[in-house]
């Protein structure tokens, strides 16, 4: 570290530039990670909120909850530790009395029973107690400026609902969720499928005490139980999005390794005559190689942590509409990964160090 640190102190500009590049790459990687995580959370947050183990869907729905539909009465045939009926319907909501395009919001209605476990915790206002009352995701307040008591009109139907409370972390398919009771849900759903005699729902969310949902039994051929993770990875567009971001982040980490590796390699080549002299003086290749590796570690350490700091700072300053979210496990993993691959990149140069012939220092 002695040589590594002295050299950084001596050639400040040169190393500041290298650190600058590392900072930018780290910043980009961290920021993309935050965005990827935030986006994926907005797809699945309301599902994670259930803390459920599995979900029962109509067999022919192909794991698409929007296409799943069966009578609510069938819940009695399902065997599980805990179960909750859920109706899902997407809609477009708009503050009542307004009709400009900008005020329209894509929402998802969750029709639920008050007594069942997927009922959300209300952080502001109160729980719904009558028809046409909804508990909305807090983003409607933070991003759209709505408040408890506001009426929303729904596109394509003669129906308004009133926000009576807000809950947190209730997003589904990157849009806010409105929780309502089953009878209101039936009305909203009916506008798409026509009036029905019996109540219909989209899914039954279950909790199970045994592994892999072994104790959950649907008792029907036309209903299937899926694990929550399987359900999430089959959300429309979810996997495509996660894989796209994952690929980008992976490549960026590799590029970071290559850039640092190349920088260090060029620096090592530049210094090769000096390193030759050092070897002539009997300083071992191992000592010089350690200095090179140590220097890379210092550079990437400073760069990555500065990038991390900048990312966290940016996260604080971003408007709520940007789906950025920190996940400290991911951030820690990427920090470690970036430093490890950077140091691995420096191992290119170790070969160069070993191959330097001290004889050339003399001739």
């Amino acid at each position: 570290m002695f040589l590594a640190w002295r050299e950084i102190k001596y050639s400040k500009t040169r190393f500041a530039l290298i650190i600058g590049v590392v900072i930018l790459i780290a910043y980009l990687v961290f920021f993309l990670t935050g965005l990827a995580y935030g986006l994926s959370q907005e797809n699945r947050m309301s599902i994670d909120k259930w803390e459920a183990d599995g979900i029962v869907l109509a067999d022919e729905s192909n794991l698409n909850i929007n296409m799943s539909m069966f009578p609510k009465g069938q819940i009695d045939e399902i065997e599980a530790t805990e179960k909750a009926s859920l109706g899902v319907a997407s809609s477009v909501a708009q503050p009542a009395g307004q009709n400009d395009e900008d005020s329209k919001v894509n929402v998802t209605f969750f029709g639920i029973d008050k007594e069942e476990f997927i009922f959300p915790e209300v952080v502001e206002g109160e729980e719904f107690s009558a028809d046409r009352e909804v508990i909305a995701d807090i983003s409607l307040k933070e991003e759209e400026g709505m408040a408890v008591g506001d009426d929303l009109s729904l596109a394509g139907m003669d129906l308004t609902v009133e926000i009576v409370g807000f809950t947190e972390n209730a997003k589904f398919s990157v849009g806010p969720v409105l929780y309502t009771n089953h009878s209101t849900y039936q009305q909203i759903r009916a506008s798409g499928f026509g009036e029905r005699e019996e109540e219909i729902i989209s899914a039954i969310v279950v909790r199970s005490d045994s592994e892999e949902l072994a104790d959950v039994e649907t008792n029907r051929d036309d209903l299937n139980v899926y694990s929550t993770s399987e359900f999430i990875s089959n959300l429309p567009g979810y996997m495509a999005q996660v894989l796209t971001f994952g690929l980008m982040i992976g490549f960026l980490v590799l590029i970071a390794a290559m850039i640092i590796g190349i920088f260090i390699y060029v620096l090592t080549l530049q210094k090769s005559s000096m390193l030759g002299v050092m070897k002539a003086q009997g300083i071992s290749s191992a000592y010089i190689a350690r200095a090179v590796i140590g220097q890379t570690f210092l550079l990437s350490f400073i760069g990555v942590f500065t990038g991390l700091g900048l990312t966290l700072l940016t996260g604080l300053l971003l408007p709520a509409a940007v789906p950025y979210q920190n996940n400290f496990i991911f951030l820690a993993a990427i920090t470690g990964l970036l430093i490890i691959v950077a140091v691995a990149g420096a191992f290119f140069s170790v070969r160069t160090v070993v191959n330097i012939d001290p004889l050339e220092a003399i001739d």
Binding site: L3, I283, A361
Partner: protein, 225 residues
């Protein structure tokens, strides 16, 4: 005691289809406290001679002894270790590490050995060489003569058995060159080292105990004037 001894040392190179004898079979030794100069034109084999003594390459035939230990028969790693411990190199100009201050050049030795910097020794050595006021300067701030003194300090600091100087005065004017050689001669006597200086400048040999001439790989001892 003979600190450096070469017995029937010979070095040949393959150059295309020709074999070149860079160093003809040579017997040579330097006693403790002896300052020896080797002069000769470039390409005469004097660098080969010096690098074989320094263990940077091995002789094709014959043996090199440092402090009566077989040096040329050690493997590369052990030779590097012995070089670090026993041999002080002073090279033309690029001897110093550009990003270390004069003091840090010496401190590097401690860092490698994982020992403590000997402040008193550093002070003594640098003031003896007249560069104690330059302790915190980088090589780029030093003049040619000061650089070579720093290089001598670097070579002496580790208390080597042998000092090998390869054209230590190449980049200096006459006055500075004489100063540097005088310092080398003085330190050799005082610290009881064995010093070999390779140079092409015959005027510098006044301070030397013995002068050899290298020509076409043949080393011959000059008669003292």
């Amino acid at each position: 005691m003979k600190l450096i001894e070469l017995k029937d040392v010979k070095k040949t190179f393959q150059d295309g289809r020709k074999m070149i004898e860079a160093l003809k079979p040579t017997n040579f030794s330097v006693e403790q406290g002896e300052f020896v100069a080797v002069i000769g034109p470039s390409g005469s084999g004097k660098s080969t001679f010096l690098t074989i003594i320094g263990g940077l390459q091995t002789p094709t035939e014959g043996k090199v002894f440092i402090r009566e230990d077989k040096f040329s028969e050690l493997d590369e790693k052990d030779r590097a270790k012995k070089r670090f411990n026993e041999i002080g190199f002073i090279l033309q100009a690029s001897n110093l590490i550009p990003f270390l201050t004069v003091k840090d050049q010496l401190k590097l030795v401690n860092k490698i050995e994982k020992s403590k910097l000997d402040e008193a020794k550093v002070e003594n050595l640098l003031s003896e060489l007249g560069i104690d006021h330059l302790m915190d300067k980088y090589p780029s701030d030093l003049s040619g003569g000061e650089k070579q003194r720093a290089a001598i300090a670097r070579a002496m600091y580790h208390n080597p058995t042998v000092i090998l100087a390869d054209e230590p005065t190449a980049s200096l004017d006459t006055d500075r060159a004489f100063e540097v050689v005088e310092i080398l001669a003085r330190e050799t006597k005082k610290e009881k080292k064995a010093t070999i200086m390779v140079t092409h400048d015959e005027r510098l040999t006044d301070y030397c105990d013995a002068v050899y001439t290298m020509k076409d790989g043949v080393l011959t001892k000059n008669h003292k004037k």
